[in-house]
Symmetry: D2
C-alpha cells in the first residue's frame, strides 16, 4: 500500500468497460484498486467474469453498498444510474470518473433534445468532458470527469483540427460509423446472438444517434463558430468485429483547404499528442486508419482524403471502443488529473496481424 | 392445392432447424406446408423470425393446439418434448419426422447410459433412424423417422465404409468434432453472445458426448461386429463459423487396409449416393472436406488419409449441421419415404467462395 | 441437347463471378453451358477451381482460342480485355453479356473523367446496361448487355425511387459502401491475405470511385433532371465478410418528402419486382437491409429512414456482390433478353442464420 | 545506450514472428534493438511493415550483410536458412536465438525421418530447446537457443505433467490441433486468400506433421520412458482466427490416474510457472483453455478432463502461436539466459472480450 497510495474503486465492474478499467489499472504503478462492485456477481472472483485477468488479481466483486472511502471512483454503471447516485459517490471519493452519458453534456437544449431530460446543473459544473486532447488544461483542474462516448471520441478527434480552424461551421457533416459487437455491451440478446450477429453489416441507427449531441457541443467548444446538431448527420452500422470503431466523416467545407493545409492543420493539432496517430500513406494496405490494429490500445488513428473538385474532406478515425473510446480514455484523463505521466498504464502498442 | 397434395405441418418452427425445413419445403414441388407452430411467436409471420423467407411465404405461426390433420408432421421440438406428445402427433399425421434425440436409439442400455432414461419401446419400433445412406430400404417401409444428430450424421457417414468392412471393431476411434455456433440453437445466452463466441476455439464437451450412443448403435448395425461406446472417444470444440461441422476421426485398425483398398471401400460404399462426396485431392486448398463449401447444402463430404506406419486411418467428414445434419437429412428421408426423387428440394450446390 | 437448345459460353470462367455464372446456369433449364475458358487453368476440371461444383459438371476449362459458335457469351474478363476482343466475340455469339466496366457508360465525358479513355461508340450502342429494374424494356430488345458494377447496382436500386421522383437533382448524395473481400477478386495479394484482411474496417477508396460514373449516368437516365457526378460523394470501406455489400446513402432533398410518400414511392417503384425487397421493420434485428441474409441470392434489399428535421433521407441497400451485383444480375438480364421467366435459375432464397 | 547495454539484432524481421520480437523487445528495459534485417524491405521503416509499431521506433530494415556485432541475435529466417549461416551469425553475436526448426532436434533418427537430413551435431550441442518450463536450468547455462515450434510448445506444455509422471509411455496419444491463419506466415497465397481462408475448417496435415518429432524428443527427455513418434498421432486443422492454437490431446493411459491425482500432477508441475495457467472450471464459458483470451500474451493455458470409464485423459492446451509459440517463448528464454526477471517485456494480460 505504501507504493500505491491512490485508492481506486470501480463501480459496475462486470461489464466490458469495467473489465478494461481493471486490466489497465491493475498494473498501473501509481494506483491500487481497492474495490470492484457488481451486484449480480457479488462474491465472485473478478477473473471469473474477466478471464483474461486470471492470475492478475485476487479481487472479488462486492456490492456498491460495501463501498469504502477512496480517492478515485470509476463508474461503469448504465446511463442514468450514475446520476442518481452521484451525491453518494461524491461523498465517498475525491474524484469521480464516469463512463456513462450522464454528465457529458452541459447544454440543456441538447440534453432535452437527445435525452429528453435536463442537465443537472449543480453537478454538471464539476465534471469535465474526458477527451484529454481537447480539455487537458481543464482536466488538470477539474474535480470529476465525464468519460466521452466511443463514437463521439472517434468523431471529435477526427474532426477537431477542422473544427478548430473554422472549417466546420454551417456546413453538412455526414458521419458514417462502423462498429464492432462489444459496443452493445456484455448482456446477451437476440441481436448479439452469434449466429445472428456474425458477419452482419447492419444499420442500427441511421438517424437520431445520441452521440450527435456530444459531437456538436464539444466541437463547438473548440470551433470559432457554433456547430449545430442539424449539421451533423450521423449514422451507425454494425459490422463483424468484437472491438473497434471506424468513423468516415464527409465534410463539405465552404472554403476548401488545400491538401497541404490539411496536413499542416492535422500535424499541428496533434503534435506531441501521445495517443493520436495521423495515418495517411501513399501505398500499402494500412494507408488509412483501421481499428484492426488498435485492439487493446489507447490510440486513435486519424486520416483524411480530399476530393478537391467538390471540396469534400473525408476524415477517417479509428479506435478501440472499449479503450480509447471508454476505459482507456478515462484512465488517460485520470493520469492528467492526478498529474501522472499521461501514458502510464496505456503503453500497449497493439498487435499485427 | 391440387398440385401439392401432401400436407406438411412443422411443429416448433421458429428455431434454426425449423427454419431450414421451411426453406427446403416451401419450393418443394410435391408437398405443401399447411401449418407452422411456435408458441412464443403465435400470430407472427414466419418471415419475421426467418427473414430469409421474406416474400417466400405468407404463413403465420400458430399454436400446436391448433394443429389440424396432415400427412407429414415434422417436429423440431426440444429433446424430450416430442416424446411426450408423440401419441397426439401420431393421431394427427400419417408420418412423423422428428429432429430431436427422442427416438434415435433402440438400445435401452445406451439410452440409460447417455440419457438416463428408458427407450419407449412401443413407439420406438415405428421409428427408423433417418440416415438414408444406411437405412434407405427401411425408410421406404417405415412409418416414422427419427432424424439423426448432426455430429452423429457426420461421424457415421465418415466411418460407415470402414465399419461395414469390419475395420472398426475392438479398436479405439478418436473423433474430434469442430462445430459452428448455430449448433447451439436460436436462443441467446452468454456462451453465444457475439463478443464471447466470435473467434473462439473452445472445447465444450471433451468427454461424455451423447452422440456417442447414436454413433455406436448405428455403426454397429452395419458392422459385422459390435462397436462399443467405450471404443468411441468423442470430443467437441466450438470454432468460429455459424454453420458447419468437421469431424476428424482417428481409427486404429488392427489389419490396416492399403490406401487403394480404402479408396475402393469408400468409392463402392458411396457409389450412386447423391449427397455423399468423396473429397481427397493431391493438390489444391480443398483437398479434404471443408464445411465452408457446404453452407445450405445437403452434401456430406468425406475424405481420409492413411498413416501407413502406424495403421491409423484419419477420416474427415464435413456437413452443414442445419441441413444434412438436421432439416436436409430429414427432407431427404421424407423423399425416400414418400417415394419422391431423393434430391427433390435439396438441389442447392453451395457457394464458393 | 434437345432440351437445352441455347448454347452458352463463359469466357474468363475461373474467377469468382465466372464461377457464379456457372453455378447459376448449370441447373438452368433453358440453357446449356458448352464451353468455359480460362487460359491459366486450361485442361483442368471446372470443379478443381470451383469446388462447390463437384459433381455438378464434368466440364473442363479450355482456351478462348478454342471457342466455338454459341448463342450467348458471358464474359468475366478483366476490365479492358473484353473491349479489345468484342469484335471476335461478337462474330461467335449472337448475344454478349459482359461483366466488365467496358460498356457500362455511354457518356464520353464520364468515361474520360473516370476511366481516362473514350467510349467505343460503335459497339457501345449495341449494349444495354444490365439493371433489369431500370431497363427491362430495352433489354428485351437489345443485342448485348453490359453488366452493372456491384456497388453501382446497390446504389442505383437504392436510389432509383428517389431519382425517378426528382428528389435527387442538385443535391449532395453521400454514399458509404461497406464491402466484403470477394469484391477484390480471386487473385491473392497482401491486402487480401487472411491475417491482414480478417477483421479489417478499412477505407480503400474514400474519393474518386469509378462506380460514381455509372451511378450518375444511369440515375440521370431515370430522373427528370441530370444528376452530376460532383453531387455523388462515394466512399468505400472493406469490412469482414466474404460476400456482400451494404450501401448507406445520405440524400439531402430540397423538398423533403413525408415518410408516407417515401413509402409510396418505394412501394410503387418496386411493385412486382421479383428481386427487390423493401425492408423497413419497426422492430427486430433485421429491420433494415443486411447482406448477411443474401449470400448466394439475387435479391437486393432496400430500406430507408427519414430524418425529418434536416430533410435527410438515409437509404440502405444490400446485395451479394457476386450474384445480384454481377453474375445473378447478368443471368436475370439474360432471362429478360431471351424472354424466359425472369427468375429462372435465381430461385435460391438465402440462408438464415 | 547507457541503460540498455545488451544489443539485440533481429534477422528476418519482416515476418510475423519477427514483428512480434520487435513488439516485445522495443519496450524491454534491459535490451536495445540495434538492427533489424529484411532483404526485401531494405531501407523501409520497420513500421511500414509492422504498422502496429508506428511511433514506437524509428528503425529501418537493413540487409543481413550490414550486420554488426551484437550480444543477442534473434533469427526468424525460414527453416534451413538459419543453419546455413549459423557460423557467420555466431561470429557476430554471443548468443543466437533461432525460431526455425533447424536446431530443435538432437536425435538424428528423428531428424532423418521428419526432415530428411542429419543433425548438424557440432552446432546442435550449443543449442538448448527453448521451452523454459522444461529446460530452465539448461537455458541458464546455454550459449544458444532453438525456439520451439508453436504446435510443439502447446503439445509439450499440455502433456508435460503426464509425461513426467510416466503416464505417456507405450500408449497412443492423439493430438488434434486447431490453428489460426497467421501460422502460415506473412506471404499471401491462394490458401490464405481471405475469401478462401475465412470461415474454413480445413484439415491441412492429417498425418506426418513434423512437430511430432519435437514432441517425442522433448517429452521423452522428461519422461521415465521413451515416447515414440509412432505413439503420437498428430493432425492439424485450420480454423477461423488469425492467431491462436488449441491442442486437444487424447491420452490412453495404462494405469489411469484419478482425477485428483491429475489435478495434483498439473498443479505441482506448474506451481510457480509465470506463463502456464491451469484452466479447469466447473462452470462458465471459459472452463477450458481458449486461445481467444491469449492474443498477444505469453500465456499457455492448460486444462484436462478425465473419461474415467475408458481411462482417456483429454488434455487441452492453448496459446498464441506468434507469442508463446514463437517470439514470446524466445524472449522468455532470453530472459532466463541473461538472468533477467523471466516475465520482463511479457506482461501483457490479454483482452476480453
Amino acid at each position: 500500500m505504501a507504493e500505491k497510495e491512490v485508492r481506486v474503486a470501480v463501480v459496475g465492474g462486470s461489464g466490458y468497460a469495467g473489465g478494461e478499467i481493471l486490466r489497465l489499472l491493475l498494473p498501473h504503478p501509481e494506483v491500487r484498486i481497492t474495490q470492484v462492485t457488481s451486484e449480480s456477481n457479488r462474491g465472485k472472483y473478478v477473473h471469473q467474469i474477466h478471464p483474461n485477468l486470471r492470475g492478475q488479481t485476487g479481487l472479488r466483486f462486492c456490492s456498491a453498498e460495501d463501498l469504502r472511502e477512496c480517492d478515485v471512483l470509476f463508474s461503469a454503471l448504465p446511463h442514468g444510474t450514475f446520476a442518481e447516485r452521484v451525491a453518494d459517490f461524491s461523498s465517498m471519493s475525491t474524484h469521480l470518473i464516469d463512463l456513462s452519458s450522464d454528465f457529458r453534456l452541459k447544454r440543456d437544449d441538447l440534453m432535452q433534445k437527445f435525452y429528453n431530460r435536463s442537465v443537472r446543473t449543480a453537478w454538471a459544473e464539476h465534471f469535465t468532458y474526458g477527451v484529454s486532447e481537447l480539455y487537458r488544461t481543464d482536466i488538470r483542474n477539474t474535480r470529476h470527469i465525464a468519460g466521452a462516448g466511443c463514437l463521439a471520441t472517434a468523431s471529435i478527434l477526427g474532426l477537431y483540427p477542422l473544427a478548430r480552424a473554422g472549417y466546420l461551421s454551417n456546413t453538412p457533416i455526414v458521419i458514417e460509423a462502423k462498429v464492432g459487437s462489444s459496443a452493445a455491451g456484455a448482456s446477451p440478446n437476440l441481436s448479439t446472438h452469434h449466429p445472428e450477429r456474425s458477419g452482419a453489416m447492419r444499420s442500427f441507427q441511421p438517424t437520431g444517434h445520441r452521440h450527435t449531441a456530444e459531437i456538436a457541443e464539444h466541437l463547438s467548444a473548440v470551433s470559432p463558430h457554433d456547430i449545430c446538431t442539424t449539421d451533423i448527420h450521423f449514422s451507425a452500422t454494425a459490422v463483424e468485429r468484437i472491438r473497434g470503431i471506424l468513423i468516415t466523416a464527409h465534410c463539405f467545407t465552404e472554403n476548401c483547404p488545400e491538401k497541404q493545409d490539411l496536413w499542416k492543420m492535422y500535424r499541428q493539432t496533434y503534435a506531441g499528442e501521445p495517443f493520436v496517430r495521423i495515418v495517411k500513406e501513399r501505398t500499402g494496405i494500412y494507408r488509412y486508419p483501421d481499428p484492426k490494429l488498435l485492439d487493446g490500445t489507447n490510440f486513435c488513428e486519424v486520416g483524411f482524403e480530399l476530393d478537391a473538385e467538390t471540396g469534400r474532406v473525408v476524415v477517417m478515425s479509428a479506435l478501440d471502443n472499449l479503450v480509447k473510446g471508454a476505459a482507456g480514455g478515462a484512465v488517460q484523463a485520470m493520469n492528467v488529473l492526478l498529474d501522472y505521466e499521461e501514458t502510464t498504464g496505456l503503453e500497449f502498442a497493439g498487435l499485427h496481424p
